[in-house]
């Protein structure tokens, strides 16, 4: 997850990434930054499943 967000010169958010919560081997992870290379590739490949 992102660290503390600090304003600078009336602006907020420079270099601040979005949090992207994903499930990996049953656990949630707050950022894909800490995924290993294989899991990153797998996460990228995931397709949505239709319901119809």
């Amino acid at each position: 997850m992102a660290g503390k967000v600090v304003p600078n010169n009336g602006q907020v958010g420079e270099h601040v990434k979005f949090d992207r919560i994903r499930r990996i081997t049953g656990y949630l992870v707050g950022t894909t930054d800490r995924f290993n290379n294989a899991k990153r590739a797998e996460e990228k490949d995931r397709v949505k499943h239709s319901l119809s």
Binding site: M1, V5, K17, I21, V29, N37, K39, D45, H49
Partner: protein, 771 residues
């Protein structure tokens, strides 16, 4: 032997990929050495030459073979020609060399990488996504882990097992803990709290409020996590918290009654302990949320008999009823608030408290949903409410893994007592990814279920581990006090590749790997058995593990550990099927059948092993994190890029239909469900929904119901949960944040955020000193 001369290839590829001239002498030497080592099995000179020729002949013509392929052929030909002992010696020789190559100078290189490379650049530091290896303690943990792995590989494991792990035939999970402890445990908080417990520095007595129940639940999870290498789970969270809620409710009720008489009758005496004690003594059954009306009758009767002790004038009966009813209302309200706060602190604690020298938060899981008492329902309702709201800035909580136990008759259909909680769970899961859903009605779970006994309700660890059946002690087929001892996974796709579409060969090799895994699990178990209670001051010292309360500090834990499970897991059924038939089980009915046969075969093997040993050998749909990339990396080097098999960065998780394969959600559930019945050590199925579909509770519920109806044991729905920490938006974010319109890394002005806050109160407040 054929009359003509066998043609050797010109070149052979060394392990580093460099082609060098092919030298048949090397094959001769290797076979001779192995034969010498086998001693009793002399190969005659003419047999020897035939053998060498057979190996060379088997090398595909016109291709440059690599060393591993030629070594595979040597093994194959030795076995084919009946030189079993020489083959065994050859395999050992090969194993030994693999190991030496792998470990020489490795440790120093690894330490160097751990020390001088950041996690962003070093895959080795991202093996577990919930450990921050950039911190000191995270790196310290990795030093310890890599050092332990080196020690175990070189000095502890039997040579062939070490080699099988290193060359990627199998994967021994948590090998760094080989000499130390077990995987996980399902903690019975009710039992633990009832007797009070000690975490090492002082005794903690039975908690008396929901706040303490929740706080101590976290402490118990943390303490246990520090003694085991896997996660910790509470199988009966709602039942346990109900007792805490009941304590708080009673306390609030008595407080309110006392204050009522103080305020309404100016009776200061009522505030004293004597009055409270008299009230407690007078009414035999303690007040709960379920006996409020009965209690009223007792209470009124008692007070009208003894009013003179406390009041100057006789009160009206009506007034005493009002006292009770008002007190109940106050107590319910206060308890609800206290429960909310307790659940809030539980979630905050479990996301911030540290374990393992500060390197990670405890891997915690809680199971709930079946207890129908009003107290339990209050706990679960508040837990879900807190989860829905999120952490301090509205972030999604990563821990604990929450698992809602679905059961017909209790929470599955409209009209059932906890159906409202099931609906709430769906709503929360659609926003926060938790809770997941487990299904007690799946036949392989239902067989253990006894109504009203939480110990017989299936529970899951966050990662998917499941411990229920018990070969060792069939009278104890329960969840609490048990867990997995260790697990090891088979590289199934490699067996698929090496079988060259020959199913018979596949099964033969699979059995060999299963035998190897079981032998290794037992080898590890022998080490685990010799531990004593003092090695686990909390897990065993406080009686959490089944049977440990009967042991002394210096007693070995071997016998009681037998209640745990030894599991063999697998990865990449999809790639295995593709290697064997050309199509995975998402694509072809035939593969579906074969897939089921393969996994059923593995399960039979484990059952048989349980029969043989009296231990709990179980089959696991491995939750592979580091492993997902490891096997395929090695296999691609060895076998090249095989479409649908080794052409991605990862092998597909357990029996899943590949994540990249487009398929209907219900179809995916139907295909994966039969594997849940076979994998008794644990399983999970996922459905990936887009953000909008997930937000539709009917669609979400349809998916969960489909899981239940098809016999899934444990499942969950994945959908993108993104958050912009700058403006606080939670939902799906593609390139641009839908709320503040910034792109990743771009700034927004404070003015704009102030403007947005008028519409969205959850936009964080920023104060800029220089502006």
């Amino acid at each position: 032997m054929k009359g003509n001369v066998v043609v050797c290839p010109d070149m052979i590829k060394k392990r580093n990929g460099m082609p060098v001239p092919f030298d048949v002498k090397k094959i001769r030497d290797a076979i001779r050495k192995a034969n010498d080592a086998a001693r009793v099995e002399a190969i005659a000179p003419y047999q020897f030459e035939t053998l060498v020729d057979a190996v060379v002949e088997a090398i595909p013509e016109g291709k440059t073979p690599n060393v591993e392929q030629v070594q595979d052929l040597v093994e194959e030909k030795l076995i084919e020609n009946g030189f079993a002992k020489t083959a065994k010696a050859y395999i050992l020789y090969r194993a030994e060399h693999t190991k030496v190559r792998k470990t020489e100078a490795d440790l120093v290189d690894i330490y160097r990488e751990l020390t001088f490379t950041s996690a962003a650049d070093a895959d080795i530091k991202r093996e577990n996504a919930n450990i921050d290896a950039d911190t000191s303690m995270g790196t310290m943990l990795k030093y310890g882990s890599e050092g332990a792995n080196y020690f175990v590989d070189n000095y502890i494991l039997p040579k062939d097992i070490a080699a099988a792990h290193i060359n990627g035939d199998i994967h021994i999970h948590d090998k760094d803990f080989y000499m130390l402890t077990e995987t996980c445990c399902q903690i019975d908080l009710i039992k633990l709290f009832r007797d009070g417990f000690s975490t090492g520095h002082g005794y903690i007595r039975q908690p008396r409020s929901i706040a303490s129940y929740a706080a101590l639940a976290c402490i118990a999870i943390q303490a246990n996590q520090n003694e085991m290498h896997g996660g910790q789970s509470v199988p009966n969270f709602d039942y346990a918290m109900a007792e805490g809620v009941a304590c708080t409710f009673r306390k609030e009720y008595y407080d309110a009654v006392q204050r009522y008489f103080w305020l309404e009758h100016d009776c200061e005496q009522a505030l004293e302990e004597d009055f409270r004690q008299a009230l407690k003594d007078a009414v035999p059954e303690r007040i709960t949320m379920a006996n409020i009306d009965d209690y009223e009758a007792h209470f009124v009767k008692w007070f009208m008999e003894c009013w003179e002790m406390w009041l100057k004038e006789k009160p009206k009966e009506q007034d005493i009823r009002r006292c009770h009813q008002t007190s109940v209302r106050i107590a319910l309200k206060e308890t609800d608030m206290a429960t909310y706060q307790a659940m809030e602190s539980l979630i905050h604690n479990l996301n911030t408290m540290n374990s393992r020298a500060g390197a990670q938060v405890p891997f915690s899981s809680i199971n709930y949903g079946t207890c129908t008492s009003p107290e339990a329902r209050m706990a679960v309702r508040n837990l879900l409410k807190v989860t829905d709201i999120g952490l301090g800035n509205g972030e999604t909580a990563i821990f604990p893994v929450q698992i809602f136990k679905v059961k017909e008759g209790i929470n599955y259909n409209p009209g059932e007592p906890n159906y409202d909680l099931f609906r709430l769970a769906i709503k929360v899961s659609a926003k926060r990814l938790f809770p997941n859903f487990s299904f007690i009605d799946a036949p392989f779970n239902l067989q253990y279920y006894k109504e009203g006994d939480y110990n017989t309700e299936i529970a899951y660890m966050g990662c998917r581990t499941r411990v229920m059946g018990n070969h060792y002690d069939p009278k104890q087929e329960v969840t609490c006090g048990r867990g997995n001892l260790s697990f090891t996974s088979v590289n199934l796709p490699r067996l698929g590749i090496k079988a060259h579409k020959n199913i018979k060969v596949f099964y033969r090799e699979l059995d060999k790997q299963l035998a190897l895994c079981c032998r290794q699990l037992l080898h590890r178990f022998e080490i685990q058995k010799k531990k004593t209670v003092k090695n686990y001051p909390f897990l065993m010292g406080q009686g959490i593990w089944m049977g440990s309360d009967a042991l002394g500090v210096h007693d070995q834990v071997g016998e009681i550990l037998k209640n745990g499970t030894l599991s063999v897991g697998f990865i990449g059924l999809a790639e295995t099927l593709t290697a064997l038939t050309g199509a995975h089980h998402g694509e072809s009915e035939e593969s579906r059948k074969l897939g089921h046969e393969i996994i059923a075969h593995m399960r039979d093997y484990m059952d048989q092993k349980s029969q043989e040993t009296g231990l709990n050998f179980t089959l696991l749909a491995t939750p592979a994190e580091g492993l997902s990339g490891r096997f395929v990396r090695i296999d691609r080097k060895r076998f090249g890029r095989i479409p649908g098999v080794t052409d991605r960065e990862y092998y597909t998780n357990s029996f899943h239909v590949p994540v990249y394969y487009p398929i209907n959600a219900f179809e995916k559930i139907r295909i994966e469900a039969p594997y849940h019945a076979l994998t008794n050590a644990g399983h999970i199925s996922y459905v990936e929904l887009d953000g909008d579909t997930a937000k539709n509770p009917e669609a979400f519920e349809a998916v969960i119901r489909c899981m239940k109806e098809n016999g899934i044991g444990y499942g969950s729905v994945n959908h993108p949960v993104d958050r912009d920490p700058v403006c606080g938006y939670t939902g799906v974010i593609d390139e641009v944040c839908p709320r503040c319109k910034r792109r990743e890394g771009e700034p927004v002005s404070i003015e704009r955020l102030n403007e947005l806050r008028k519409k969205y109160p959850d936009v964080p407040v920023y104060l800029d000193a220089n502006h």
